[in-house]
């Protein structure tokens, strides 16, 4: 299948979603059907592309002779696209139930679908220019979703989000220009700049800046503040975008930048590497310790996302192939786990009418399935074997140890510390929910009940996925290895 096919999964939801903003749907049902079909079609196309597309480049547009807008399918693209294309329909099903009573649904669904396309665009982009374009578009497409409740708080959060992301893009822009100038912008594993002739200081500073720039979406400290603020968004958005699509796009962009544009050899062992690694390590600890302090359920999860994203960035900054494998592994695993955790939080918010952690005493009795899923998520996120979180941690650890440098080892230690924090802030919830203390049981309103089927099914599916990925990681691991080796 030739690579023009890549355009379909990218532009079908992008265009379709944006146009659908102008459709006036007679009923909820019809809207549901429309977007359901659109999303499923996109997923199908994406998977066809993943499975069938060859690795030739399709040039959509030429800015200049060397500056093109082009798409290409390679291993990394397969992984990221596959991840998004799997999680999007799941989230859509969840959102059907969750968003039922929300306002501004037109906007929500239009941009929700559009951002699907943009995410796939990031996955499929063949060079820095294209990825930068879609990176910017992603900010714009997800902005309305963040502001969806349209409360002043949400608007503040949205503005914060857009300013942070765009500043990140502005930094990343420098990197973009640099790779354009040095002809390094096509993504090839191993990068182009290994034997860069020009001034090394420039190379390194550009790398550090642009890594930070792309890192903004991956919420690297000190540019992380937008993510917790964005927790005001409706749960499907928080779950999908701020646990998977947007933030993982940031991490993915960092991977592209490091391994596919600059190349590990160009940067490894330099102060730039140490700088980004230190930031990542700090973020790991910072994020989880912050989320210890949060009493707001979703914000707690958001901070835990901050920390977990930096696991990925830390692995990226180790700059060995096995580290790349590990980072992809954690990228995928964390997506599944965190989206499930957010789903559970959303269900609690929606059906349990609770949004603070200390109100959850004894809620497990009323919403058993939800909290069962949440428990699985906690175990996985903490990294208790044989849940999947353990596997990815294990491989990050091996990669870190294998360098035998003090800084990665320190990072590994930080990772374990933050894992302990993770245990604390996750199991606090779990224990509260399942084992309320005699003194502490709150009077529950009769309206509290188990979440609806449309919410439960995605959660259960994801929980199952967690276990399966934990018990049969070998195949996925080989997949990733094969993906990053070409």
């Amino acid at each position: 299948m030739s690579s023009w096919f890549l355009l379909l999964p990218v532009f079908l939801p992008l265009v379709g979603g944006l146009l659908s903003y102008f459709i006036v749907f007679p009923s909820d049902g019809s809207r549901r059907w429309f977007y359901g079909i659109l999303t499923v079609a996109t997923t199908a196309l994406a998977w066809m592309a993943i499975l069938r597309c060859g690795s030739d480049t399709f040039i959509l547009l030429r800015f200049t002779d060397k500056l093109t807008l082009s798409f290409r399918m390679d291993g990394a693209a397969r992984l990221f696209a596959g991840l998004s294309a799997t999680l999007w329909p799941v989230t859509m099903v969840y959102a059907w139930d969750y968003m039922r009573h929300e306002k501004h649904l037109r906007m929500f669904w239009a941009f929700f679908t559009a951002s699907f396309g943009v995410t796939l665009g990031i996955a499929f982009s063949a060079n820095m220019m294209t990825m930068y374009l879609f990176y910017e578009l992603l900010t714009l497409a997800t902005l309305p979703l963040v502001m969806q409740p349209m409360t002043s708080k949400a608007i503040q959060a949205g503005i914060k989000y857009v300013i942070y992301s765009m500043s990140g893009a502005a930094l990343a822009f420098i990197g973009l220009v640099f790779v354009i100038v040095t002809d390094a912008q096509d993504f090839v594993i191993g990068g182009h700049l290994a034997g860069y002739a020009g001034s090394r200081t420039t190379l390194l500073s550009v790398f550090a800046l642009s890594f930070l720039g792309f890192g903004v979406k991956a919420a690297i400290w000190p540019l992380h503040a937008w993510l917790p603020a964005a927790a005001v968004a409706p749960t499907p958005v928080t779950a999908l975008l701020h646990a998977v699509a947007v933030v993982k796009a940031g991490a993915f962009a960092c991977i592209r930048l490091t391994y596919y544009a600059f190349g590990p050899e160009a940067v490894a062992g330099s102060w730039a590497q140490e700088l980004v690694m230190t930031l990542a390590i700090f973020t790991i600890v910072y994020g989880s310790s912050m989320s210890l302090k949060q009493q707001h359920f979703k914000r707690r999860l958001a901070y835990s996302t901050v920390s977990n994203l930096s696991y990925i960035l830390f692995a990226v900054s180790i700059m060995t192939t096995e580290a790349l494998t590990a980072s992809f592994l954690h990228l995928i695993y964390h997506s599944v786990v965190k989206i499930m955790a957010f789903f559970a939080a959303g269900a609690v918010l929606h059906y349990g009418e609770r949004e603070y952690v200390d109100e959850l005493e004894g809620l497990g009795k009323y919403m058993p399935v939800t909290f069962a899923c949440f428990t699985v998520a906690s175990c996985a996120l903490t990294g208790i074997p044989p849940f999947n979180g353990f596997i990815s941690k294990w491989y990050i650890a091996l990669a870190a140890v294998h360098t035998y440098h003090p800084l990665p080892l320190l990072g590994f230690a930080a990772l374990l510390l933050s894992a302990l924090f993770t245990a604390i802030y996750m199991f606090q919830v779990v224990v509260r929910a399942w084992f309320p203390s005699k003194e502490g049981i709150l009077p529950l309103p009769g309206t509290v009940r188990e979440a609806g089927a449309l919410m439960l099914v995605p959660m259960i599916v994801l929980a199952a996925a967690c276990l399966v990925m934990g018990l049969f990681p070998q195949s996925l691991l080989d997949l990733i290895r094969e993906a990053v080796s070409v």
């Binding site: 547009l61 030429r62 800015f63 200049t64 002779d65 500056l67 501004h104 220019m129 930068y132 374009l133 910017e136 578009l137 714009l140 902005l143 309305p144 502001m147 349209m150 608007i155 949205g158 503005i159 857009v162 300013i163 765009m166 500043s167 893009a169 502005a170 930094l171 822009f173 420098i174 220009v177 640099f178 354009i180 100038v181 420039t202």
Partner: protein, 498 residues
């Protein structure tokens, strides 16, 4: 000597004629005449451009009977008609988009004068593009000043008047300095035509005589034009001027007129002084620094602006800053970037002014941001065009604003110490642009119940929509299909600097 080569001359003369005849016409006919003139001149410039492009030639055209070095002549390659075309098109769009509003702002009795002034502005722009004679340049600068000041002050509004006076004062200081610069140059070289000036200056510089006074002269000319086009430290007149005029005028002033001065400046730098001497004179570095300062300062003051149009006006300070930064970088790539910046800004800023005025209209004529909440829903097209403009200003790919940003940055590498200031300035100014442009965009798209309730949705009039939409279209075209323009510019530049 093909017939097409007369077109530049014709267009100048034609618009002069129109200006004169409009005296004896009433507003309606004057309007028609002007529109006709603009359309024709677009046609003329277009044909000249295509002619020059096809034959890849540039030529001098004698005005009057005296040959060089005494006579007066116009010279054109590819760039001159290209920019003339741009200016004419943008003017047409501005005028079309602003008519309704203009007719509300200006006394019916005075409207014919408005059209005269438009004609004058147009002719002076054409002259600035085409002239090959520095003193003619000065004369048309003055005419341009008068015309634009009139365009500004014709509005019956005290603040517009004061803004006009302020503008006038600064403009006159600018042109005065420019004139002195011209006189110095003349008294040193004894020449007025660009090519002769170029040779003489080069030989003088070789000989090492008059270097100091030459530097002074260059500095005076540059500063004069810089003041008139609103470079950073001299931008105080700008916000009120652009922010208070009737939208058409603001569009013309911000989008086109300042660009005319800048184009003349570029001509002087590359065809009178010569880029090497310009760089050696040290004025270049100053331009770079002031440009960067302007990029930042303009955006910062835009962030604190209270009114929408004031904000847009301040943002043009920043955009002009880009241009001067590019001139300060002084490489050919940077020059291309500058041309792109001129293009994108000339296409974007009028659009922004037009849609801003539309948005203000549907918000009860108020310009403060609270009333503007949700204006986009009340006037979708204006909202859309404003969004396009904003995104282009921020520099999102696929929009025109991205291309100059990209070219500036690419040409920044390999400039020695200049690299990092330029890159960081670009980054910072992007962030600042986000802070006010995207902020405003978000604001105008807030759902209705968030914004001011009392204004109900008005049906936008087609003649205000079309030009803005047209400009938006051009904008996207430049953004997406920039390679053609790049080719045009590169060819134009080697004709231009020979």
């Amino acid at each position: 000597m093909s017939f097409v080569q007369n077109f530049p001359f014709f267009s100048v003369i034609l618009s002069l004629l129109c200006a004169v005849t409009s005296f004896f016409l009433d507003a309606r006919w004057a309007k028609r005449l002007t529109l006709f003139l603009l359309c024709t001149s677009i046609g003329l410039q277009g044909s000249v451009l295509s002619f020059c492009y096809r034959n890849h030639m540039s030529y001098e055209y004698l005005m009057g009977h005296f040959a060089a070095p005494w006579g007066n002549e116009i010279a054109l390659g590819i760039l001159e008609p290209l920019f003339a075309l741009l200016f004419a098109t943008v003017m047409l769009c501005c005028v079309l988009g602003g008519i309704k509003r203009m007719e509300r702002d200006v006394f019916p009795g005075k409207q014919s004068y408005y059209w005269i002034m438009v004609d004058l502005a147009h002719v002076s722009l054409l002259a600035l593009c085409y002239t090959n004679d520095i003193f003619t340049g000065y004369v048309f600068i003055e005419i341009c000043t008068i015309a634009s000041c009139a365009l500004l002050s014709i509005r019956e509004n005290g603040r517009a008047l004061i803004a006009a006076v302020r503008y006038m004062v600064f403009a006159l200081i600018g042109s005065g300095l420019f004139l002195i610069g011209v006189i110095f140059t003349y008294s040193i070289t004894g020449q007025l035509l660009f090519p002769q000036l170029y040779e003489t200056i080069a030989s003088l510089w070789e000989a090492g005589t008059y270097r100091f006074s030459m530097t002074i002269a260059i500095g005076l000319m540059v500063v004069g034009l810089a003041i008139k086009s609103g470079m950073f430290p001299f931008h105080f007149w700008m916000p009120d001027t652009y922010g208070r005029a009737t939208p058409a005028s603001s569009g013309i002033l911000s989008g086109v007129i300042s660009k005319g001065y800048i184009f003349l400046l570029i001509k002087i730098i590359y065809r009178v002084v010569g880029i090497e001497i310009f760089a050696a004179s040290g004025v270049q570095t100053l331009l770079l620094l002031f440009g960067i300062a302007g990029m930042v300062a303009g955006s910062v003051s835009a962030i604190f602006a209270k009114r929408l149009t004031t904000m847009v006006a301040f943002s043009s300070v920043a955009q002009i800053g880009y241009i001067y930064m590019g001139l300060g970088m002084g490489t050919q790539a940077a020059l291309i970037a500058v041309f792109f910046q001129i293009f994108s800004h000339a296409l974007t800023k009028p659009m922004l002014f037009l849609s801003a005025s539309q948005l203000a209209n549907v918000s009860g004529g108020r310009q403060d941001f609270r009333s503007l909440c949700g204006a986009g829903h009340r006037h979708p097209v204006a909202g859309f065009t404003f969004t396009v403009g904003a995104l282009s200003m921020v520099g999102i790919p696929l929009f025109a604003g991205f291309i100059p940003k990209l070219y500036f940055a690419t040409s920044a590498f390999g400039l020695g110490w200049k690299t990092w200031p330029v890159l960081l300035a670009l980054a910072v100014s992007t962030v600042l642009n986000v802070m006010y442009f995207l902020y405003t965009t978000i604001l105008i798209w807030l759902p209705r119940e968030e914004g001011a309730r009392n204004h109900n949705r008005v049906m936008p009039q087609v003649e205000t929509i079309v030009p803005a939409a047209l400009l938006a279209g051009f904008n996207l075209m430049v953004g997406i299909h920039s390679s053609a323009l790049t080719a045009l510019f590169t060819q134009g530049i080697d004709l231009f600097c020979q």
